[in-house]
Amino acid sequence: MKKLTALLLALVMVFALASCGSSSAPAANGDAAPTASAPADAAPADAAPAASGKTISTDEGCNIDLTGIDLTGTTVGYVTITSTAPWGGRVGTELERMATEAGATVKSLDANTVADDVANYCRQMIDAGVDALAVFGGDPTAMVDIAKECKDAGIPLFLTALDVAEEGREYATACIGPDQEQMCYDIGQYVIEQNGADAGANVVQISGVPFLMDYQLREAGFARAMADTNYNLYEPDYAFSSRTDAKTFMEQHIQADGANINLVMGYDDDLTLGAVAAIQEANLGDKIKVYSLTGQNDAIQAVKDGQLQLTVMNRADDIAAETVKAIYEVVTTGTTNYYHYTPLTFIDASNVDEWIGKGEIG
């Protein structure tokens, strides 16, 4: 009886997995997914653009126009370092949705924060013969090999909110997202404008994932802006995707050096709001000014409430839409610009009323 039950369980396990396989990744439009890889410089045979394109819905506030986009017959691979972080997750869900609405078949894999798996999954996409590969997150150095392998396989590589290390740029097709370094340089200039270059402020930095290039560039841009001031930048604290950890870091700073902290620079609203919570609990809201970016709804509300001086809206759906647009350009014309910078909106007390409820997530 026991042996029979064990065998039954083993069979259930195998067939459950098998049934998952047969129901996964259906073609959005009912077409069978193409299996052959398409070269980067040639459109798939059945991917000729329709004159009018597909209807792709976008949220209010999305700045990218997707009129005329049609990816019918194109298989898009998407590999992400994580789908659970709020902003990064939204880049993925929007990209998958928009590409699917554009007629593409989307295959996606989540590396669940393991940097090595990003490279591994990219290779799996190459093996699967996708027509275009989009990658979110990952390590810039690791992406060099992937860019070369994509080039060899004739698969265009689109880096969303990520750039490859310099030696890999000739092999990648496009890098999509804001100019992260310049964005934080501009935030630094805003901080200087508000406080003066000689304020001698002590600045706590709350950052996210240290190996992700977007965070590295953001920190570099802010540091560049601060180079000619007498501000004292504390070493960044890395809260990864955890608002709770960000709050804990801020509490530790307050306990250790609360009287001397003047500013907080947060490199992601979701994390910055953890620091804001710690500041509010310590009743230091009047003393410590907080600056941030990404433009989440609750961060915009915090600007309205005077808890945050600034957030810069760096819309995830803009990046997703621009990626879909770049893929379409390559599929139809065989080429696109390497850098696709997405627009940014600075939101502070002067314009916050226009943006309440128009941000993303949060």
Partner: protein
Amino acid sequence: MEEKVIANTVDRRKQMVRLFKDNNSVLILILILAAAFIVVDGFGNGFYNVMNYTAMYGPVCLGLAIVMITGNIDLSAGFQAGLAGVTSVICFNAVYRASGSAVAALIVAILGAVITGAITGFINGFFVAKIGVSSLIATIAANYAYQGVVFYFAQSSFSPDDADAIKLIARTKLGGMRWLTPSLLIFLAIVAVVFLWMYKSKFGNNIYIVGDNAEAASYAGISVRNTVWVTYVICGVLSAICGFFMVSSAGYAIYTQGNSLSTLTISCCVIGGIKMAGGKGTAIHVLLGVLIMRVISQMMSAMFLAQSYVNLITGALLIVVLIIDRLTSNKATD
């Protein structure tokens, strides 16, 4: 005479049943592989991933299994591997810059990793075997400490000066076959050596006796403390080999390389048939466990399943396998 023949036949049948019960992971692997190749599109294309990952994570799983057979646990194996990976890159760069020889740098990198593993294993063994701290608590604490060191050196990717040289071990395709790498051959050799050592040597037997009943082992004159201590050193060395393979596969070290290994290694060991309570399991069981986990993982990624399903299925499969293990286990041996 006739009764003797019947008795022999019954004994042989019992032996066969016992053999099946002790090795049900073989059946599970065969079933899963059959399902993978027959039903999952693209599984064959990605099969090299199964072998590459088995070679990469196999050594650390084997190290943990040896500790588990003594009835202990090592939750720091992941970051022991990560730390050894970082050390190997530091050693590689130091020698390469001094001598310009990639071969010398590679040899020193491997030695550096192995020595690091031996040291971290020795430290773990000291706290568990000598001081008597619970292995769970001691290795959780050690994991944090090793993670801190790795994070200090490799917040972002930390590359060797000649990445192509360091990739030779895990990325060279022998005979042009993507799945056959030097790292796989090294791992299989380690499995064979450990298997024979644990079955044939006195010390190997002592490990099982300690895991089965530490008190009885002590009465039998076996030094339980030394036995446990040595298993931690072996675990450290095998974790270090895994760490070097990870660097060799990626071409760089990064702190996340040890991140997910603690739970993965335990899953591989348990699925393979290593008993959490100790006293049972072989290197072959570990090999099977790693293969099963990698086949399942590769099946799910070949199906492009969402991460939520991946986590759900992995957890469910682990429970199912544990139930199968429980139902087919011989009470007398448990």
